[in-house]
Symmetry: C2
Subunit: 712 residues, 2 copies
Amino acid sequence: MGEREEVQNNNDIEIGVERRGPSSLSSSRSASPESRRTTSSSLKEPLLLPHDAKRTKQISHLAIIGANCRYFQAFAAYAGCNMVLAIAAAGLCAYISPAAAGSGIPEVKAYLNGIDAHSILAPSTLFVKIFGSIFGVAAGFVVGKEGPMVHTGACIASLLGQGGSRKYGLTWKWLRYFKNDLDRRDLITCGAAAGVAAAFRAPVGGVLFALEEIASWWRSALLWRTFFTTAVVAVVLRTFIVFCRGGQCGLFGEGGLIMFDVNSVNPTYRIADLLAVIVLGMIGGIFGSLYNYLVDKVLRTYSIINERGPVFKILLAIIISLLTSCCSYGLPWLSKCIPCPASLGDQCPTVGRYGNFKSFQCPPNHYNDLASLFMTTNDDAIRNLFSSGFDKEFQLSTLIVFFAAIYCLGIITYGIAVPSGLFIPVILAGASYGRLIGTLLGSLSDLDVGFFALLGAASFLGGTMRMTVSLCVILLELTNGLLMLPLVMLVLLISKTVADCFNKGVYDQIVEMKGFPFLEAHAEPYMRNLIASDVASGPLVTFSGIEKVANILYALKTTKHNGFPVIDEPPFSDAPQLCGLVLRSHLLVLLKGKKFTKQRMAIGSNMLRTFNAQDFDKAGSGKGVKLEDLDIREEELEMYVDLHPIVNTSPYAVVETMSLAKAAVLFRQLGLRHMLVTPRMPGRPPVVGILTRHDFMSEHVLGLYPQFQTKK
Amino acid sequence: MGEREEVQNNNDIEIGVERRGPSSLSSSRSASPESRRTTSSSLKEPLLLPHDAKRTKQISHLAIIGANCRYFQAFAAYAGCNMVLAIAAAGLCAYISPAAAGSGIPEVKAYLNGIDAHSILAPSTLFVKIFGSIFGVAAGFVVGKEGPMVHTGACIASLLGQGGSRKYGLTWKWLRYFKNDLDRRDLITCGAAAGVAAAFRAPVGGVLFALEEIASWWRSALLWRTFFTTAVVAVVLRTFIVFCRGGQCGLFGEGGLIMFDVNSVNPTYRIADLLAVIVLGMIGGIFGSLYNYLVDKVLRTYSIINERGPVFKILLAIIISLLTSCCSYGLPWLSKCIPCPASLGDQCPTVGRYGNFKSFQCPPNHYNDLASLFMTTNDDAIRNLFSSGFDKEFQLSTLIVFFAAIYCLGIITYGIAVPSGLFIPVILAGASYGRLIGTLLGSLSDLDVGFFALLGAASFLGGTMRMTVSLCVILLELTNGLLMLPLVMLVLLISKTVADCFNKGVYDQIVEMKGFPFLEAHAEPYMRNLIASDVASGPLVTFSGIEKVANILYALKTTKHNGFPVIDEPPFSDAPQLCGLVLRSHLLVLLKGKKFTKQRMAIGSNMLRTFNAQDFDKAGSGKGVKLEDLDIREEELEMYVDLHPIVNTSPYAVVETMSLAKAAVLFRQLGLRHMLVTPRMPGRPPVVGILTRHDFMSEHVLGLYPQFQTKK
């Protein structure tokens, strides 16, 4: 082999950018894995570093300079492509739908808790979520696609529930059964469950994830509906996997229905292993809560940058993209080349095709283990870490470097204006941490290093997300490790318990940070020292049963209340008495119908004949009659309208002296939006206040009563 | 071989009564499976029917008569042993604890819905449940041990929650944290989940079963607690299984953590298979709902017999035991002998040891397939039906006979005074039905007959129990068939949907039949046409804030109310106003403390100093201060007692005009026992009624308003 030939070899640097570069994107679309595996003829052997001592120094120096130049070009191509994709993802998020950035799970969780933020499930969010996520993952960011898929599922369900999108000309009339809050939220819960089921190919895990993490209220009917949804997902998914088995759909079929099969692992363990697992769970819990803490800090920092405008959002994404490219291209150089195990034959190293054992800069029959983790898809990196074949496949130093890099990159990546899931970074970091511990313990433990990686991933997931049953089932469905279930359960419990000592779960943290008025399932302890009337704030706006149009319009214009108590007054009753509660949206529909009378008189339900029952349906988010849509003429302002037909005559109410804690439980358990406060003693107006979600928020209550601050 | 020898052979009839006779009980205790497998030397070859044509007719006739006589003796021994065990089980139930009969799941479900029936979770019930279940299963009844194990778990949890049993001298003071309704019910839910987890070796299934079927209220804290419980169960179970691997514990370790492993089954299927599976699910749903219907009819018939006294209960058990013995001993004679497959070698037939391929009356190297199902443990029968090795292992006629026998025996057995689970009969019937369909379809389907058996079991379970996620996970954990999950989900959904068209789930039916005032999660539609005051029944008994002892005693004696409204009257307030609600149990403790005053005056909370905080704890079931325990002297009757310190000043209340449906939702969602009804207009007493669980029962409401009967 002459020098010329070697230099020529250097021209075709194989850096194996399947994972992070656009080449993966294009190749996976243009060619099936099968064909990529076989058509290596067009790709050359990897760069050989000079290792022939006989060659003259001068020529090898030249070669090195040349090589360095090539390496730099390769890096530029790699980082450049990543950056273009990152700009595309961040641009979509920054300019079209800022709500699509991040995981989406906290947003869906908040929505199902009763927070109607229009943008969360808007069609534009759906569009950006899908394409932003594709670009973001392709750009090589340490982000997952699971969170965005949950959000995508919820968005699609929301669109369906609205009967399609009128704006984009997609409407279905037969979907009108979802024109109420309850059914629409059920549908969105099903959509989120379908997202999880599709992301992890875990149908039962999807149901449980929706139950444990996303939904705020749970009914047995909902269980059954989500189960139906995920069963359909499972059947469709399996059909596609079978259809794609021939390699027609790129990487889709990879792993089949079980993405990371560890079923072959030998499930024996001793008491000593149990101790190791407990320690692993404890450290995992600490790392997990630290992860949450750092993500929170980074998010708060980023939000300052992101608030300055779309350009800053994109700039931030560019910086993180560059950093990620530097890490994934630069760090493998630190790793020593490892000779291929003879038993693998052709499989090692993988040059010019899809697979593990990346050659990177190594001589023939050697592979770079760090490149094998960095330069592949996230799924394959996880599969590598879970694999049990070779205990020595990854060096200790490799695992340390990879763990540190992924842990840090995961933290600094979440929060940039790109759809980004948290599952994959956490599983990657946890799996490398677990495999690291397994390798360190070595022969001290009977357990396989691949299984240690699974336990490490479980401990990190438990430490950050704080779920139990759903994570357990998702991990079971991901790995088929039913015999390992007791240990996985144990690790999840330990890491969750340890992490709960420090802070809240990552999704709860993000919900809090984003300022959503999230209603917790339990009442805060200090609420026991307060009564309902202590927190009912603001001047109360009430209507008469038959009210002047001008008064209603004024109240709608000057307040943002969504519900108004209606009080029957003499001469329509003996004394002022509560008639019920009327909703802003229903008032607007009523005013638009213009069934006014000149005299103050009851028309009763006859009036409703002029309305369609569907007029009072819950409108799609951001739709419905708006105040600006009304054109009330001057003379109509002095007319009267009978509110009785649209009044909810059985609103839930509490006495003003009711313990605030009990009122909060009532409000939360029944999923209310408005709760009336009635006087304890007669002789006062029949309603003395109205409680809404905001009145139960800690910030509101503690703002009024700072003396309870320390007790929190 | 001479005639003498043949007749001698006949002396030692091998009927293989491992499953149903006491020999299984004693042998499984005296010898390990290993030793039983090898020590066959003391047992002789099975009976050979005359098949040598050369022998004289006379001698062979004699032999047949002799053989028939032996067979009858064997049957007498078999049926006699079964009957003794059946009498033991029924006797325990009839004389010690009638509440222990049946599955126990409906009772636990009712208890967790808020029905405090003392006997449900009493220590005597626990005792009878454990031993009655052992005797009942050993007596060869077609009953399972799963339901009783759930009940056992709940009983143990209840005992723990009471701080042990004072009656039996087992008390733990540190368990006082469970001295309230909420935590005690949580603990019992955990106990039930542990029972499921232990019965099926399905920890996640246990959590979900508790969630979906048993619990009426669910909080995320409960999810986490049940998960912890079942994780401990899983670890302990696995430790025992490893410990018992050597065969030290009889049949305990059989099947390992996965009882019926079908992981080896090939998971490919086509569209045509999907259709077959859908049809299978539909028929399974019909059979399942028919099962429920017949169980209900049989239960109602039996309850008439059982009410006549313990002797009748035992007689009924004897009749069913005899019938079962006849079926399981007699029916295998209908089956033809099948030659052993050559590939099995020594495994077939099994003579004198534990295993499949029972020889029964067959010549050497033949086996009786029906005997292989009847004459074995229930677990092994299920394992046989799920097995995939030999498609032709069971003849079509065998499967039909077995299915019919088990289906009918299962229906007539449930309801006798023996602890009896429903899972095993349903799984057995479903598996034989599924295998029957699989065998009928033959080569038309790609699916394995063993997997058809699993699908059949799933369809029956879905059709009778109407659960989805929990059954799915339990089946997954039982069979390790993760790749089959989509089909199992589909079958469960279809069978549940079909069966729901006909009647309610079997446990709901039993709850209704037993007359428990079970509070449904949803309000009945006719309730929308009623208001709260329509159903509040009975004269209202109220107390003053400072009440005369005689009045309290009179009210406690003459009513059975558990809660009384307390009203402050002048001179202690300006006008009569609601002070709150006081509980019967707290009143009894207060009266026992005798802090009375001669004058009508407020003592306030100082009074409570003489009481211990724990005095007002929720007492163990059937404990606490009783009315008979009070000895109030004559002069004390005229004294006063201040109720304010023990009044709940924030009781939940509704206005009398509140829609009954909304009041029902409030009552159910918050898990209330008493709900006050307040007047709409001032000028009346501050409380006009009190609503309890019974006021929301359909029987009560429809009794008052029969016009809604048809709308139901």
